[in-house]
Amino acid sequence: MNEWLNEFGNILLETLRSVLPIIGILLLFQFLIVRRPLSHPSQIFAGFFYVLLGITLFVLGLKMALFPIGELMAQQLTEPNFLGIEHDPDRVHWYNYIWIYLFAGSIGFATAMAEPTLTAVAIKASEVSAGTIRALPFRLAVALGVGCGLALGTFRIVTGAPLYVYILTGYVFVAIQTAFAPKIIAGLAYDSGNVASSTVTVPIVTALGLGLAAAVPGRNPLLDGFGLIAFTCLIPIINVLGYAQIAVWWTQRNQATDTE
């Protein structure tokens, strides 16, 4: 119990240290520049208190439950004897790592669904679009993108192709999609990848990348272990733009059949 309280205190201090400058700036501008009393001061302070408490409990829980087991699983799945490559390190094929791609894909999807920043943006998007953009399908599209991105990113670490080839191709694809997708979705789509690569996803992804790069013969953790985040930021953009295109196409098709 004591250990818990101790950890709770440490995380609370760390959260306070990162949140206080922001609260300071908001209050400073509110009282010196805007010079209006807050409209619901007690509600807003309660909100800030909830956010602070929420982040602290959330991070404490992640450190107790998800991060240790996430790292452990990344380590176990990349062990040469689990992969069955310990006898033959010179002839490693990409298909020896099927479980890694599956794990990367599903853990990426799962952590993105649990990401509070993605929930926050989804709430805001459905609110300002008056429900045209629905929160759950949007989050599913983003989370599927994070999953596909991680599966592709681990495949790249195993095969050793240069990172920029994938990323460059991806952004050219995004540019082409932007030209055809509904204009209204572009901003949300560009934000989605970064938003989904936050508190929950990044530590687990980093452990996976470093573990995998250390386990695959011929890869260097320092050079090849990074770059997974670049994928989790990129593929959701493609997915969200694609989701919007399909949604528009679907409505138009239904309208066409209605008028016939």
Partner: protein, 252 residues
């Protein structure tokens, strides 16, 4: 149908309880994936199962408080400040506010501190800076300031974009061209750090505030649409640090 369980009925209409349920549902995928891979693929027990369960419960409670707090505090305050600045009609103060928000949210970010320390270690191992404690500290602080200024600038550019009504894709594509050009000239050891530095600005507190700023500005300016103009600030806040950190690598 006859209502037989008024208590449960009331509970289901309670906002807080519904949020707890929603948070718990958000965690179902991650629990399912963990159990599937640990128990069926790796075929090992969950180490310290009690700790795992209590950790998950804390995550659910934390997520619930966080989302409630956003709706009560962060979102309304961010938006009402954006509205107030627009009514004041002073673009100068909006831009100062945008910069301060970006800078303040980034400078104390724990994830950024970790990346900066790691970068200082790599730089001193690689002989880019002297291998002393002071040199590393100075390098790490310089890097943090660089990223914080970059995020501040990104929010300034985004605010100007919303006020002027520039199309977002052009701004983002220009940003990516900037990243591509800097990658050619930057020293190779800084590139990985630079690319990662973009990701650290998306913390749990920055994302909702920056979103509220963009949506608030574009919904109070005539002719702007909060959906098509109000987002995209985070994307640019992730791009600018890459450009600035590679610049830091060339100069430092």
């Amino acid at each position: 149908m006859q209502l037989r369980f008024p208590f449960i009925q009331r509970l289901l209409h309670n906002r807080f309880f519904r949020q707890v349920l929603a948070s718990a549902l958000d965690l179902v995928p991650v629990i399912a994936v963990t159990l599937f891979f640990q128990l069926l693929v790796i075929q090992q027990p969950i180490p310290e199962a009690g700790r795992f369960v209590s950790g998950i419960l804390l995550v659910v409670v934390g997520l619930t408080f966080f989302i409630q707090g956003l709706k009560l505090g962060l979102f309304p305050l961010g938006e009402s400040m954006a509205h107030a600045f627009v009514r004041k009609g002073s673009p100068f103060w909006i831009l100062v506010f945008a910069f301060a928000l970006g800078f303040g949210a980034t400078i104390a970010e724990p994830a950024l501190m970790a990346v900066a320390d790691e970068a200082a270690r790599i730089a001193s191992d690689g002989g880019v800076i002297e291998a002393t404690q002071e040199a590393r500290k100075a390098y790490a602080l310089g890097l943090r300031l660089t990223v914080a200024v970059a995020v501040g600038c990104a929010l300034i550019i985004s605010t100007i974009r919303i006020i002027r009504g520039w199309p977002l894709p052009y701004v983002i594509i220009a940003g990516y061209l900037g990243v591509a050009v800097m990658t050619i000239f930057a020293p190779p050891e800084i590139i990985g750090i630079a690319y990662d530095s973009g990701g650290v600005t998306t913390s749990t507190i920055t994302v909702p505030l920056v979103t509220a700023l963009g949506v608030g500005l574009s919904s109070s300016l005539p002719g702007r649409n909060p959906v098509s103009d109000g987002f995209g600030l985070i994307a640019l806040s992730a791009l600018m640090p890459m450009i600035f950190v590679m610049g830091y690598g060339i100069v430092a």
